[in-house]
Amino acid sequence: MNLRVVKFLFEEAFISLRQNVLMATIAIMTISISLIILAVFLLLFFDINSAIGGVSRNLTIVTYLDKEITSSGISKVEEQFALITGIKNVEFVSKEDAWKKMKDKFKYQEDIVNLVQGNPLPDSFVLTLESPDKIEDVAKELKLVEGVSDVRFGKEVVSKLRMFVQVFNYVGLSVVGFLLLATLLIIINTINLTILAKKFEVEIMKLVGATNNFVKWCFRIEGLVMGFLGAIVAIVIVDGIFSFVTYKIHMVFPFISVFTQGLSIITLNIFLLCLGLIIGLIGSSISIKSLLKSILKK
């Protein structure tokens, strides 16, 4: 294909779209809507996912040290910790601090606290992990470090969280996958409807000598253009909704930070654009191919 043909194909696509502007507009609108649905759920999925990630990242392991440990022993333990992979942050909590916190926590049970003489608590390290996945393994390694008397973490919380993540990803990915499929089908169907309505046009094209390839490319480019326009409209609306919702949520729940760590809006825009173009092309290819076949058979 030389450049003139490409130029002509685009011209044809625009003539064809202009021929039934209303139909084209409606089709493009439908493409936009289904892309918007998809985009909204991608945003939700990734954002909730990252929110869960945030919770997971806050899981900590508390390592209690021997009561008789010296300050040089403490630094030795800390050095050992540096050798263990998967630890993101290490915070030392002296037994004094721990006791203060404890007293704070049991304010109501004052009587109990007052009954205690001296400080019964040991020094400890609070460790943050890079990921909660290997928390058991890390805990085991920590136990082996000399000077560590006990290692504690919320076993129940970890397992609940893990289950939740599993369910969420299971459901979320199924839903996103299902939506992707549904979007594909809706867009392909819509393009198919607009092309079926042009059966008569295609018949004439063939009768005056247009090759199948020529006809196919005319409609492919038409599909591409529709997909492109649909994606652009979707992007504008999604970005609008996004800004509005971010703003609105910020007003209502100023303490929540939304849409910060999830899917970046630019990635999403690029994804929508590619999707629009690709489905536009594929949808029109399928439709025109089957239409040409049906014309041949008649």
């Binding site: 043909v5 003539i15 004439i204 063939k206 009768l207 005056v208 000598g209 090759t211 199948n212």
Partner: protein
């Protein structure tokens, strides 16, 4: 140029329109195809255009059997055949776009497209209607536009299916003069018509179809479709 050998065409596997038709039309000929309604004139034209394929027998265009043409060969064939369809078959676009399309699929340049359209549109006298859509044209004007589309490419073969059905006698006669002139410029012309007056005046070869057969094939013939 056009040769049919034992061509039989049946619709719906039961209704035989053409039966073992043998026919030869040479390059420089101008042929009238006559016959009562439903005789198979349009079907014959469709066979030549390879819009239909015969159930048995073969159609040769320029000595090539079109039976086993693939899609590309068919397109190439059609680019060399100009057709005025009985039911027009024009795009729902302006006449200009209709004419341009035929040239565009040949890969012509914009400038040449414009020139060729200008020439052919003044030939049929539709200059003022060039940018109207088909539904804005009268029946006769549409027919003229179809003639313009059929000849714009200087085709090797021109098939005209009832090209004057919507034209007054004068306009019909003009159209016939145009077809005649094109024929003299080396285009084979086949005209299916019911216009007795024109056939009688033109004194060309007349092929009469009836009941699935060629019942008469006369040089300098007259319109007469009685068996």
């Amino acid at each position: 140029m056009i040769r049919l050998r034992n061509v039989t065409k049946t619709y719906n596997k039961s209704f035989t329109v053409l039966q073992r038709i043998n026919l030869h039309i040479s390059k420089d000929e101008f042929v009238f195809l006559v016959g009562p309604t439903g005789a198979g004139k349009t079907t014959l034209i469709k066979l030549i255009l390879r819009e239909e394929v015969p159930d048995s027998g073969s159609v040769y265009i320029d000595k090539v059997n079109t039976r086993d043409f693939n899609e590309n060969q068919t397109s190439k064939l059609r680019k060399n055949i100009g057709v005025i369809f009985q039911d027009f078959k024009v795009f729902n676009r302006s006449i200009y776009e209709n004419l341009a399309f035929v040239l565009k699929i040949q890969g012509e340049k914009k400038k040449i497209i414009k020139e060729k359209i200008d020439t052919v549109i003044s030939l049929v006298g539709l200059e003022k209607k060039l940018h109207l859509h088909p539904f804005q044209l009268s029946g006769g004007e549409k027919q003229k536009a179809c003639l313009a589309r059929a000849i714009i490419n200087r085709p090797l073969v021109l098939l005209a299916d009832e090209p004057t059905g919507n034209l007054d006698p004068d306009a019909s006669w003009e159209i016939m003069q145009i077809l005649s002139k094109i024929n003299q410029q080396n285009t084979t012309v086949v005209v299916a018509t019911h216009d007795k007056h024109i056939v009688d005046m033109m004194r060309k070869r007349v092929i009469a179809l009836h009941g699935g057969n060629i019942i008469r094939d006369q040089q300098l013939g007259k319109y007469n479709h009685e068996p």
